[in-house]
């Protein structure tokens, strides 16, 4: 301790305090977790949260169960960091697209997760020499995020004005 110059000590302490405050006020640790409510912190995720909440999987799965790879911990944490950094970057730079859509990479992850949980059910239909070339949600259009149009319904209950 003695060898460390005081200004640096102060700076270090300040940094630690600042980080602490940052972590406490922004609840950064939560982002390492899997609570659906955490994703919902970002208001742009609100429609997805809202209609996930009303869909079939709310009792069964959290966002990360579908949206992050689960074959091993490395893949899981790498993808979590990568996606998180991407989302935060897009969000803070204000370049959030009007229409958020899962990209192909995400779709692949999701598909693997459907099969991971439902392996027994789909065993006989995905087998065979030809690849099972469609996404589960081509048919199960509502199981993950509820009925179509629900993404906007949360806004239709606008609080801007009362209804007589």
């Amino acid at each position: 301790m003695k060898n460390i110059p005081l200004p640096i000590l102060i700076a270090l302490a300040a940094f630690i305090i600042a980080m602490g405050v940052f972590v406490v006020t922004t609840d950064a640790v939560a982002y390492a977790g899997t609570h659906a409510e955490t994703c919902n912190n970002c208001h742009v995720m609100h429609p997805m949260y809202e209609n996930y909440y009303h869909a079939a999987h709310q009792r069964a799965a959290e966002c990360a169960d579908c949206h992050l790879p689960h074959e091993n911990l490395v893949a899981y944490w790498f993808e979590k960091g990568r996606q998180g950094a991407h989302d935060v970057y897009v969000f803070t730079t204000g370049t959030t697209p009007e229409l958020i859509r899962a990209n192909e990479h995400s779709q692949e992850i999701i598909q693997h997760n459907c099969i991971r949980c439902h392996e027994e059910t789909v065993e006989s239909i995905v087998m065979g020499p030809q690849a099972f070339d469609r996404n589960c949600w081509d048919c199960h259009r509502d199981v993950a995020h509820g009925e179509r149009g629900m993404s906007t319904s949360s806004f239709q209950d606008s609080t801007t004005y009362p209804v007589k």
């Binding site: 009007e98 149009g149 801007t160």
Partner: protein
């Protein structure tokens, strides 16, 4: 804290108080800058799509058959595609269809302002629609200052959607319906029916009326006009008591279209929610959804490219079939003209021919004047084409029979004109 307040108090905090039926939208805009800003964009929008869009292109030039189909009626003078709501006043005042000679018994009445201005709700409130409609267009002009605005759709103190046009209120009543019991989602369609509907002027005092007493389906509307013996004009040389259909988007869309039956409203497609940073609001920049399909369709259809390709296919199919129907009607018109010029024509057969011409043309127009090139209800559009073509051909056959002249059966006379009478 939101959750603890009773709903009534969850309302907006108005910056300024808006008088009931305030015609000046910019005053409302102080409280609702997003809605007002987007609304103003309707004035300068100029983007066209394949079949529609926001420029003022001429239908008579784009499809010269329509010059023939509206011959003798004001629509053959000028008929343009519609533009944004902020242009309504400018456009109605500039159109060559007006007859501003008040001495002429056929002068344009004040009724033509009914769907063009936010001054109307307060004017109707003050003088009543009967008095309003009995005035001439010229007489009304000084009272009309603003184009369409907030007061045409909203109640000032609550901002809820309301029926502002007494003609709509009457038409709903005639069907035993009370709009104050409608749900919010229903109002998101009905509010457009203040204007986007087929109408006619009843009686000598031009009382604005929607022909819905028997219902809003095409056969019910034709039945209504037939019972009434109403005609918009007499088609020149054929003597047909012709009807003009005007923008029946509401009737067309609600006639069992897939979207209407699924609970989708006009506003879902034409006024999608858009975001301003954090806040979402309804875009008041009302125009073709094909200009911003991600917002308009994307909230419900994940594959936006797919639905756009689909719209193209539907519209191409309808446009092609519609032209075939027009050609058939023109063949009928040319035949009836020759028959009508013949003093020896069988009057009963000729009248039957005219009646079928009247119905075929109204059916075609119902589809044509509906501005989505069939998309609002594709199957209805094509069924109407099938029925109208069948009637037009039968009209032509009756005309030929009435004068016993085979040359009247010539087809494609639009391309190779038949000998004139």
């Amino acid at each position: 804290f939101m959750k603890n307040n009773p709903p009534a108090e969850r309302a907006f905090e108005p910056l300024v108080e808006i008088a009931a039926m305030e015609p000046d939208s910019s005053k409302w805009g102080v409280n609702f800058p997003n809605q007002w800003n987007s609304f103003q964009k309707t004035e300068t929008n100029n983007i066209d799509t394949t079949y529609a869009g926001s420029s003022k292109f001429s239908w008579l030039e784009r499809d010269p058959r329509q010059k023939i189909l509206f011959a003798g009626y004001s629509f053959s003078k000028e008929y343009n595609d519609d533009r944004g709501h902020m242009n309504a006043l400018e456009d109605v005042r500039a159109i060559k269809r007006l007859n501003l000679n008040d001495e002429d018994p056929k002068h344009t009445p004040a009724t033509c302002y009914s769907c063009k201005s936010s001054n109307n709700p307060s004017l109707w409130d003050e003088m009543g629609m009967e008095t309003y409609d009995a005035m001439t267009f010229n007489e009304m002009t000084p009272n009309i200052e603003y184009s369409i605005g907030c007061a045409n759709c909203h109640e000032a103190d609550t901002m809820r959607l309301i029926v502002t046009n007494p003609a709509l209120e009457n038409a709903l009543k005639a069907q035993g319906k009370d709009w104050t019991t409608f749900t919010r989602q229903e109002m998101r369609t009905v509010v457009c029916a203040n204007c986007h509907v087929e109408y006619y002027f009843a009686g000598p005092d031009n009382y604005l009326t929607f022909p819905w007493e028997n219902g809003t389906r095409i056969d019910q509307i034709i039945e209504y006009y037939n019972e009434l013996g109403f005609k918009d004009w007499e088609y020149p040389e054929t003597g047909t008591p012709a009807l003009k259909a005007q923008h029946p988007e509401y009737e067309f869309f609600t006639a069992g279209s897939t979207h209407y039956n699924a609970g989708v409203s006009c506003s879902d497609c034409h006024m999608p929610y858009v975001s301003d940073g954090a806040a979402k609001y309804s875009s008041h920049d009302v125009h073709s959804p094909l200009i911003n399909p991600e917002q308009s369709c994307g909230q419900c259809h994940t594959d936006v490219e797919y639905v756009i390709r689909r719209v193209n296919l539907i519209q191409d199919q309808v446009a092609e079939t519609k032209i075939a129907t027009e050609d058939a009607i023109i063949d009928a018109i040319n035949a009836i003209k020759i028959a009508a010029a013949n003093p020896d024509a069988d009057a009963a057969l000729l009248d039957q021919a005219r009646q079928l011409h009247r119905e075929a043309q109204f059916m075609w127009d119902f589809l044509s004047a509906e501005n989505s090139t069939g998309f609002h209800n594709p199957e209805y559009a094509l069924k109407i084409c099938a029925d109208a073509t069948n009637l037009a051909r039968q009209a032509q056959m009756l005309a030929a029979q009435s004068v016993n002249d085979m040359s009247l059966l010539a087809t494609d006379t639009y391309y190779a004109p038949a000998p004139t009478p």
